[in-house]
Symmetry: C2
Amino acid sequence: MATHSFQAPKGTRDFYPSDLAVRRHIERAWRSASIDCGFDEVEGPTFEHLELYTAKSGEGIVNELFSFRRAGGENDYALRPEFTPTLARMVAARAGSLPVPVKWFAIPNMYRAERPQRGRLREFVQWNIDTCGVEGAATDLDVIACAILALERLGLTPKDVQVRLSHRVAIAQMLGALGVSAEKSADAMTLLDRRDKLKPEEFAQRAEALGLGAGGVARFDLAARATQPLAEPIAKLAANIGISPEAFAALDEVRAAADRAGILEWCSVDVGIVRGLAYYTGTVFEIHEISGAERAVAGGGRYDGLVELFGGPKMPACGFGMGDVVLANVLRDRKLLPDDGSALLPRPDAFVISAGGELAENELPRLVMQLRRAGLHVRTSAKATRNVGKLLGDAGKARARFAVILGTELAEGSVALKNLDASSQELVALADLGERLISSR
Amino acid sequence: MATHSFQAPKGTRDFYPSDLAVRRHIERAWRSASIDCGFDEVEGPTFEHLELYTAKSGEGIVNELFSFRRAGGENDYALRPEFTPTLARMVAARAGSLPVPVKWFAIPNMYRAERPQRGRLREFVQWNIDTCGVEGAATDLDVIACAILALERLGLTPKDVQVRLSHRVAIAQMLGALGVSAEKSADAMTLLDRRDKLKPEEFAQRAEALGLGAGGVARFDLAARATQPLAEPIAKLAANIGISPEAFAALDEVRAAADRAGILEWCSVDVGIVRGLAYYTGTVFEIHEISGAERAVAGGGRYDGLVELFGGPKMPACGFGMGDVVLANVLRDRKLLPDDGSALLPRPDAFVISAGGELAENELPRLVMQLRRAGLHVRTSAKATRNVGKLLGDAGKARARFAVILGTELAEGSVALKNLDASSQELVALADLGERLISSR
C-alpha cells in the first residue's frame, strides 16, 4: 500500500482530541445561538443526486464537485458543496405542513474539489441558518442577529468583525444610475462579484457590454470602497459617490431593523457586496474580519425564489452560511482560541487512585462505574504503579478537579478526597462521595 | 430535472427537526457516556484513500464502497464504511507522542453501498469507542461498560439487551476439540461468521475441508445455541456441549472483570459470536436485543494487531461500533422514544408577545435580543395579529415555559409573565425579567 494511503486525503483533516475540542467549541457557540434564537436543527444526506446541483447552480460548480456513482448503480451523486439545495428540497417537500415561519439551522460537513489554500479546504463544516415564510428587513436582521450572538459568544466584538450589508434593490438602482439597464442588472452583479477572478481587460470588456463603461466602473469602485457604519445616514455615502440617495432607500429599512434589534454597531453599509448567486433578491451581506485580510467569515441574504426553484411553492426566504475554517483563523489571530486546544476538553470530575492492597484493588472498578453511573466524568490510571505521588501527577495532567485516593481508610468506609485546584484534602465516607463531587461542580 | 433529484438518495435520510431530535437524543447518551468514561472525541475525513480499505479489508468490501475520483485528480477515494482504519491510521501516525492508553471515541457518519433494508441504510451514524495500549480483560470490560452506560441512559435494562461475549482463544480451543487444526482456526471462524450468507451444502463442504465434519458442526451449533448468563460457571455450559471446561478458561477472566465492573447481569456467554474480521485476537462481543429479532446493536472486541496493520507499532487495542439505525429500532420497540420526536426538542424559556401599541412594538425586538444575549431560548411570533389569546396559543404550541406579554404595563416598566405550565401570571419589572427566567429554569 502506498504511504499516502496512511495520510488524510489532501484538503481534509484528522481531528485529534485537542483539534476537535476547538471545532466543538465553535459548534457549541453556533448551536446555542441557533437554539436561543428559536431555530430548530435539521440535517440531510451527505451526498445528493448530482442533478440537484448541476441543474440549478450552472456548469461552473460542476468542476468543484466530488461526484460518483455506486458500482452497478444508475444514478450519479455528489458530495454536498453547500446546504441550501438540500434545505430548499426539504422545505419544498413539506411546504404544506411545516409551521410558518420555518426557522432551521444545520451544521453539516461540506465538500469542494478545489485546490486547498488558506481559508479553503476540501472538507469543512458550515453553519447554516435559514428562515422561510416571512418577508421584511426585520426578519433579515433576526437572522443576522443570530450570527452576531454566536460571534459574541466566541469573544468577538464589532471592533473585530463587521457585517457588511447591501441590498439587491439598492445595487440595481445604483447600477441603473451608472448606465446598466434593468434586464442586465443581475448579469452585472454576477460580473462584479467575480471581478477578482477575471483579468482586468476581460472584466472591462464584459462590463462595457453590460452598459458599464470605464466611468461607470470607476464610480462603482468608488461606491464599493465608500463603506460606512450602517448607523450613519446613507445620504452622506450617496453624496460622496455622486448618486442620488433615493437609490439606497432600501437600506434605510435595514438600518431601522438593525437598530431595533440592538446590533447596529456590528453593521456597515458596503454596496460592493453584491454576492454572486443569481437567486438573491433583497438584503445581502458578508461578515468580514475588520482588516479585510481574510476571506469572508459568512455570507448570505434574502432569496425569495429559492424554495420555488427546487420544486416548492413561492416562499420568501433568508439565510446565511458560516464555515469553520476562516472563523477559526480569525479567532486564532485575535487570541480567542487557546494555543493548545486541550484546554477546551471537558475536565474530569475525579481521578480515582488505588494506593494498593486487595480491598482498594477490588473497590476501584466498582467505585469508578458507580460514579460514572451518577453522571460524573471519572478517570483512573491503567499503570501498574501504586505510588500515590506519581498517580497524583497523572491526575493533574488529566486536569481532574479532584483525586480520590483509596487507601487504608477504606477499611473504615472512607476515602481521601483531594481538591487538585485548592490542594486541600479531606476524608469522605464512600457513601457520600458521589453527592459530594456533584455538589462541588 | 428528474423528480427523483428532489428526494434524498436511496438509503439516506432527511432529518426534519423531530427526526434529528431523536438522533441527537441517542448521540447525547453516547457522548456523555464516552466522556464520563474518560474517552476523548476524535474525528477524521468523511472519505479516505480507497487503498486504506481495499488493501486491508479484502476484495469483499469493495462492492460495498462508494468510491470516486476528483475530476482531473490522480487518487481514488471512498466514503468511509467503518471508522477503525481511520482510527488505526491516526494512532499509528502519532504513536510515539500520544498518552497511553489512547482512549478515543467518535460519532462519524458511515457509508455502505448495500441494498437498504431494516436496520441497514446507505448512510448512518456509528458510535466508536477504542482504547489502545493496554492489555487484559479489565480493559475489555471497561470498554463494554461504556456501551452499557449509554444504553442505561437511553432507558434500556439487562432484560432488553444483552452483551453476548465470547473469546477468540476459547473459540479456537473449542474448534480444536471439534477437530480443527490451529492453522485453520481463523478460517473456520470466518466461515462460521458467514454461515447465514451461504447455502447449507456450500457451508457443509467448506466446513468439512477445515476439519469440521458434520459431527463437529452439530456440536458447534449446540455450543452456539447453549448461551448462558456470564454469571453462571462455565463448567455447566461445557458439560452441556461435551467440551472440556479448560477450553473456556479465557472466559473466566472476562467474567471476573465484568463482576468487578458491576455489569455482570448485562452479560451472557455466547461462543457462537465469532466475529468475521480476521483481526480480532481476544474477547469478542455483540450487543443484541434479547429476543434476537433485530440485527446486532453493536459489535467489537480486542484487536491487538490493528495499529501495526496500518503502519504503526505493536499496540494492544480494543473497541466497538454501535450504529444509530438498529438502536433506534430497539428503543422504538420498547417505547423508549416518543411517538413524536418534537418532545425531545429543547423547550423555549420564553415566548415574547406584543399586545400592540408603539411602545410594545419597539420594545419587543430589543427585549428578545437582550434575553437571548443572556443565554435564554426566546421565541416570538411573526404574525401580524396582536390578539393575545391567539398568540398565547402559539406560545403553548411552541412548548414555551413562559409567555412574556408586552402590554399597557410597559409604560411603568413592567411586563406580564405567564407560567404556561402552572397557568399562573404575575407582573415583573423589565429589568428583572432575564434573571427571573434564568432562576426559574
